[in-house]
Each structure stands twice: as structure tokens, then as C-alpha cells.
């Protein structure tokens, strides 16, 4: 049952991921990416990462994608970009690199070494304690990265505000 659900959601995730890349209209790409994020949230639930599933929806689909949609609509770049029919060497090279990467990843995945059907009981039975477990690790062992991340976010806020402010004279 879980495998059927996984297959269905994986098909939707891969299809929407492909549509993100293939759509000519940036707005449609963004909406397909939101669908992809929701599929990933379902994956996180299947992997017993309930807190991360909710954070994925709240942060990625709810904040980051909304911000991108704002910018797409603000800059009005949603008109379809024309498909360049010429086959350039660059495009062929890019496709080749992507195929090589896919081959490498397929080899690693199929070779095995990641074989474990179910996680141990510590995570499998932890829906009441999952957030606890995550928090107990986040605030003890990863406390320093946590604090540094807050500084990073502050720097990002200042940088974004400074870059997007209205200049008094045109540079």
C-alpha cells in the first residue's frame, strides 16, 4: 500500500519536476514547482519526518515560492520565451553532462549498499516524539550552526533590502 502511494507520488513529483524545466512560461514553472514541493512533503511524511514535511510546505511552498511568484509577476517576465530551434554545442554538452550524471547516480543507486527495508524502531514509532528528537539534536549538537544560521538570515535580510531599494540616481 505504501509502495503504491510512493509510486504515484513519485510519478507526480518527477512529472512536475520535468514540467518546471520544460515550461516556457515562468509562471507555470513556478506552479509546477509548488506541486513538486507538495509531493516532497508527502515523501517526508512517508519517511516519518513529520516536522520537516510541515516545514517544507510552510517555508518552501508557502514562503519561497510565493516570493518567486511575486517577483515573476512584478517583473512581468511570464511571457513565453521563444524556443531556440538551433541545436547549439552548448545545449548538447549540457544534455551530455546531465546524462553522465544520471548514469553515475543510477550506478550508485543500483549497486546496493543502501539496502534496509525499514528503519529501526527509534524513528518508525516516533510520531509523538519526532519533533522532540529533532529538537533535542538541533539544540544540543547543532546549536552553533543554529545560531550562525540566524546571523546568516540577518545578513540575507540586510543584503536583499539593500539591493532592492530605490536608488536616488541611476548607476
Amino acid at each position: 500500500m505504501e509502495v503504491l502511494l510512493f509510486t504515484l507520488i513519485a510519478a507526480v513529483a518527477l512529472a512536475s519536476g520535468a514540467m518546471v524545466v520544460l515550461q516556457r512560461n515562468a509562471m507555470y514553472s513556478a506552479l509546477f514547482l509548488v506541486l513538486n514541493f507538495f509531493c516532497l512533503a508527502v515523501f517526508y511524511v512517508l519517511l516519518n519526518a513529520y516536522f520537516l514535511a510541515v516545514v517544507q510546505i510552510a517555508v518552501y511552498a508557502g514562503a519561497i515560492m510565493v516570493l518567486m511568484l511575486f517577483v515573476i509577476m512584478l517583473l512581468n517576465v511570464a511571457h513565453p520565451e521563444p524556443i531556440d530551434p538551433r541545436f547549439s554545442v552548448l545545449k548538447g554538452f549540457g544534455a551530455l553532462i546531465a546524462l553522465a550524471l544520471l548514469g553515475e547516480l543510477a550506478y550508485i543507486v543500483l549497486r546496493g549498499g543502501a539496502t534496509l527495508a525499514a528503519g529501526p524502531a527509534a524513528i518508525a514509532t516516533g510520531d509523538a516524539t519526532h519533533t522532540q528528537g529533532l529538537a533535542s539534536l538541533l539544540f544540543t549538537r547543532y546549536l552553533f550552526p543554529f545560531e550562525v544560521t540566524s546571523i546568516l538570515l540577518l545578513a540575507a535580510i540586510m543584503g536583499a533590502a539593500m539591493l532592492a531599494r530605490k536608488r536616488r540616481e541611476r548607476l
Binding site: 517544507q56 516570493l67 546531465a98 543507486v109 539591493l163 532592492a164
Partner: protein, 106 residues
């Protein structure tokens, strides 16, 4: 395949993660619109997040999930600053085509 496994094995998640990552790489390499390239980068980041959570479930620890937490925070910061840069470039050039943003090219 006579019986399906009751729990999804880790390799299935890794395969989906690899495929999503490669789709993201194709998007970064083949698209011209800066915002679409940005979205492909987010796709790549999410593919790696999926890998992390899958391995965290397999190993039985929460370290992978903490890393995903940080990746999400860093991705949010990166999107904010990157979009500010794109808006700034658009304000002076009135397009977001990365092929034409070549002032630094020698």
C-alpha cells in the same frame, strides 16, 4: 515481482532524488530565464533534501533531518538575496535573460 515490500526501500527514494537532481541540472544548463534557473536550483536542493531524509530514516538518527532543516534555511536566504539581485538587474536592463548578462565576459 511476486510481492511488493511493505515499506519503501531507501533505494527508491534515492532513485527519485537522483532523477529530480538531474532534471534540475538540465534546467540550469538549458534555460535562459534567470528565474527558471533559480527554480531549477531549488529543485536540486530539494532532491538532496530527499536523499538526506531517506538516509536519516535508514540510519535511525535525526542528523539528516537537522541538515535538511539548515538547508531549507540557507535556501530561503539564498532565494531572498538572489531575487533581489535579479530585480536589480531587471531594473536597469529590463530583461532577465542570462545570455545577455555578459558584461564580465573577457
Amino acid at each position: 515481482m511476486p510481492t511488493l515490500p511493505t515499506t519503501v526501500p531507501t533505494e527508491y527514494y534515492l532513485a527519485v532524488s537522483a532523477a529530480l537532481f538531474v532534471i534540475g541540472v538540465l534546467g540550469v544548463l538549458l534555460r535562459k530565464n534567470a528565474l527558471t534557473i533559480f527554480m531549477s536550483i531549488e529543485l536540486m536542493l530539494n532532491a538532496v533534501n530527499l536523499s538526506f531524509v531517506a538516509f536519516a530514516r535508514q540510519r535511525g538518527t535525526f542528523d539528516g533531518q537537522v541538515i535538511v532543516f539548515f538547508v531549507m534555511a540557507v535556501a530561503a536566504a539564498e532565494v531572498a538575496v538572489g531575487l533581489a539581485i535579479i530585480v536589480d538587474i531587471f531594473r536597469s536592463r529590463h530583461h532577465v535573460d542570462v545570455d545577455q548578462v555578459s558584461w564580465l565576459r573577457g
